[in-house]
């Protein structure tokens, strides 16, 4: 049996991979639920403002990429904080990673359950998604990072489908008014915070620095990725406003998905079934990279970072996450 090496490093990845990863991690939540939290047309400005704030976060992240400590990987963190503190951070990070995996998996399972298999037990869907994510993650960190190209190319085109909502008879310019807020409620604040939280995700890249090409200027790629995400947010939000109107937008639980149910193609009706399924590429990539983070964090906590990774250890991590998800569900 060949050695099971998950964290090998034989080559470094260019900024293009960072761009793809940042964009896909930022698009995890929005596609599912976001427009129903934004509702008002003036939230278009909210998306842009939060996009600029997110850019500040990414600038800080790029500074970390350029620092000497980051290139050393785990040792760099130890030099900065001490081993005990790094173990503590890893322990705290475990919970955040579990929450992240649980939220995105259950969110996606909810969509699949509602639109595709209403009578199927959700546990099976969770199991299948986790299984395929485990398979991707089991190929190792290098190949999982590489998988982002496949995930990106498989899902990025879906945004183009929403262009048809920009044209009459669906589109009516009046649905985009008022662009200036006439009142500001707690719901609006929640909406802004929600955009900010959904633009999160790239911060997890701080642990991937040893796999990234340190010679490249990452800020350029981070900026492009952030701009792409903001544009996609705007595209989807404006499309959902034009389709539902702000009065009805809050009534739909999954507006972005609901909209595509009304699109017709000459070959298939209900193309939402295909599009929801294709979205899984994106989620599987995110879950698999977080699974590797989880197992890595466990190894730091138990002090076995310099030992060979094991199949049993990795599978135990996956099973733990599966149990957590079943409990949360």
């Amino acid at each position: 049996m060949t050695a099971f090496s998950l964290y090998d490093k034989t080559s470094t990845f260019s900024g293009v991979y960072v761009m793809f990863m940042v964009n896909r991690l930022q698009m995890l939540y929005f596609i599912l639920i976001m427009p129903s939290y934004l509702v008002h047309p003036y939230m278009i400005w909210g998306i842009i403002v939060i996009g600029i704030l997110s850019q500040i976060n990414l600038t800080i992240l790029s500074k970390w990429f350029a620092s000497d400590y980051s290139a050393k990987g785990y040792q760099g963190f130890v030099e900065l904080f001490s081993e005990r503190a790094v173990r503590f951070f890893a322990f705290a990070g475990l919970f955040l990673i579990v929450v992240k995996i649980t939220v995105i998996t259950l969110g996606y399972v909810e969509v699949v359950h509602k639109f595709m298999y209403p009578s199927m037990d959700k546990k099976w869907l969770i199991l299948f998604i986790l299984l395929v994510s485990c398979y991707v993650a089991a190929q190792g960190m290098e190949k999982t990072i590489r998988f982002v190209v496949i995930a990106f190319l498989s899902t990025v085109w879906i945004a183009l489908v929403y262009f048809s909502f920009f044209f009459p008879p669906i589109a009516s310019l009046y649905d985009l008014y008022p662009l200036i807020p006439v009142d500001w409620s707690m719901h609006s604040w929640k909406g802004l915070l929600f955009i900010w939280s959904s633009l999160s995700g790239p911060e997890y890249l701080i642990c991937l620095v040893p796999w990234l090409n340190s010679k490249q200027k990452m800020l350029k790629y981070l900026t492009i990725a952030n701009a792409m995400s903001v544009l996609e947010y705007l595209l989807l939000f404006v499309a959902s406003l034009l389709f539902f109107g702000s009065n009805y937008l809050s009534k739909s639980k999954f507006p972005v998905i609901d909209m595509i149910r009304y699109l017709q193609s000459p070959v298939f009706d209900r193309i939402d079934i295909i599009l929801i399924s294709v979205h899984m590429f994106h989620f599987v990539f995110a879950i698999s990279i977080f699974l590797l983070y989880f197992y890595g964090a466990v190894r730091i906590i138990v002090g076995r970072l310099h030992e060979q990774t094991t199949r049993i250890g990795f599978m135990t991590s996956c099973i733990t996450i599966f149990i957590c998800m079943i409990i949360v569900k």
Partner: protein
């Protein structure tokens, strides 16, 4: 414990060949070597000086005419002191050990004993069993070079050398197989190819340990990085132009004796969709054809599973007009969509395999049985729906568009896996399968190089010759993912 140890020692001793490496060549030892070999000949001739010369050769391995012309006639007329000066063969070598003599004998040499000097000589007079240069049967093209490799490795090298007349085109010879002693020639362009590929190939070739190699695919099996994958990790081709092109872009080629199929590595998944004809057509036409191939591959693995997914889980996806046709077609069927499709695919595979094994003249009969009896009769009998026959037909024809035959076979297995997934989870199952397939391709390597390049890892510049075939003058650099030492394809950079 001791018993085991002593037995293993005894067995080891039994299997060990007799130490003939340093044994001297004698006529008795050679007689013992060729005992019970009906085609072995030992003859004696006298020279003009009345010197006795013993000749030993394997009749079936040598060229008898050349034996007379180059050895027997010159010997009988010879008045020189040594027989080396008499014989007219071009490749003559001195033989010292018995092992060397045995090797030369089996390579088609005539062994000559100079009794006066007590010296043995070997003159190579092998009878090249080579067929004429023919058109490739596996990679047929309408335009372009028509020659293909034969079983003679030297001839194959000549065909490549005539296309790349460079001294930097290197050939390294290896012998593999304890029984077959198969010659493998490693070819590459020095100073162009990434040296890492050569060292990996050398290392792999020198560590091969098996008895019999009858085809290049056997060699590939021992050199592959992933034994359990359905995807070929070495490109097999019998076209010299494909080999020359591959060498020119920074790959290496392995020519194997007694087989017309050369191995090209490192290969990627996308090379399986490229045909030599792509570079002959106009670039727009070639790009269109290449896109059609990718679409066909996708169709061949998804069409039948999609039929099962739609008819089992997602009736709502089928437009009303098609739905009524499907409903009418499926209303009286006794089988579920999965079993209906599964049995149909199995039947198709049986017909396919039979058509390959049957004599050409029986092919028509098979077509009639396959097309009319199995196709039409099963529909009329109510075992399968008409729609499925159409779907299976499209899928089968689409699978033949992939230029690589080995790939066509692997699609069948993938199709069955997708079929099972689609019967459980519908469209979602197909996407599960697709993710698994792409993750697998992403993890594969050929000669330790990524198999899914230039997509993952991402090499944007190489996309000019990936899904499309861009104009040749736009392809200014060699594929980046092969990391060649000479990046530019132009002598003068424009």
């Amino acid at each position: 414990m001791f018993w085991k140890k002593s037995r293993s020692k005894a067995e080891h001793g039994k299997n060990e060949p007799r130490n003939t490496a340093q044994a001297a060549v004698t006529i008795d030892a050679l007689r013992h070597t060729v005992a019970n070999m009906d085609d072995a000949e030992i003859i004696e001739r006298n020279t003009k000086n009345d010197q006795k010369v013993t000749l030993l050769y394997i009749r079936t391995l040598i060229d008898q005419e050349r034996l007379n012309e180059a050895i027997i006639e010159p010997l009988t007329r010879c008045s020189q002191d040594t027989i080396y000066e008499c014989i007219a063969a071009s490749k003559v070598s001195k033989i010292i050990t018995l092992e060397e003599a045995q090797k030369q004998l089996m390579l088609g040499s005539v062994l000559l004993n100079d009794s006066l000097q007590n010296q043995w000589w070997a003159a190579r007079l092998e009878n090249p069993l080579s067929r004429a240069i023919e058109t490739s049967q596996t990679e047929t093209i309408l335009y372009g070079p028509k020659d293909s490799f034969s079983e003679e490795v030297e001839q194959n090298i000549t065909m490549i050398r005539s296309r790349i007349p460079l001294t930097t085109l290197k050939t390294e010879k290896f012998t593999v197989g304890s029984l077959s002693k198969t010659t493998v020639v490693l070819m590459y362009i020095e100073g162009l190819i990434n040296p890492e590929f050569i060292s990996i190939a050398r290392n792999k070739l020198s560590t091969i340990d098996f008895d019999l190699f009858l085809d290049s695919s056997h060699i590939a099996t021992f050199m592959e990085d992933h034994t359990h994958s359905v995807f070929p990790q070495f490109q097999q081709t019998d076209r010299p132009d494909v080999c020359a092109f591959s060498l020119g872009i920074g790959k290496l080629t392995l020519l194997v004796d007694n087989t017309p199929f050369a191995l090209v590595a490192p290969m990627t998944f996308f090379h399986l969709f490229q045909s030599p004809e792509d570079y002959i057509h106009r670039w727009l036409v070639a790009s269109f054809l290449r896109c059609i191939r990718y679409i066909s591959y996708f169709l061949s693995i998804t069409t039948v599973p999609l039929y099962v997914a739609l008819t089992t889980h997602h009736y709502q996806m089928i437009p009303l007009e098609i739905f009524s046709v499907l409903l009418e077609s499926r209303s009286k069927l006794p089988l579920t969509p999965f079993w209906e499709a599964f049995l149909m695919l199995i039947t198709l595979e049986i017909i396919r395999e039979a058509s390959l094994r049957m004599p050409t003249k029986s092919g028509q009969t098979l077509g009639v049985i396959g097309g009319i009896v199995i196709g039409q009769a099963t529909v009329e009998a109510g075992f399968v729906s008409k729609v499925l026959i159409v779907v299976v037909g499209i899928s089968a024809i689409a699978s033949f568009l992939v230029p690589n035959y080995l790939m066509t076979k692997s699609t069948t297995l993938i199709q069955f896996a997708f079929l099972i997934l689609s019967s459980f989870l519908g469209v979602l199952g197909i996407v599960f399968g697709m993710i698994g397939l792409l993750a697998h391709l992403n993890a594969l390597t050929s000669l330790k190089q990524p198999y899914f390049a230039p997509v993952a890892p991402f090499y944007g510049k190489d996309w000019i010759d990936l899904f499309i075939r861009g104009p040749l003058h736009w392809m200014k650099t060699r594929p980046e993912h092969l990391r060649p030492l000479q990046k530019w394809r132009y002598n003068r950079r424009r």
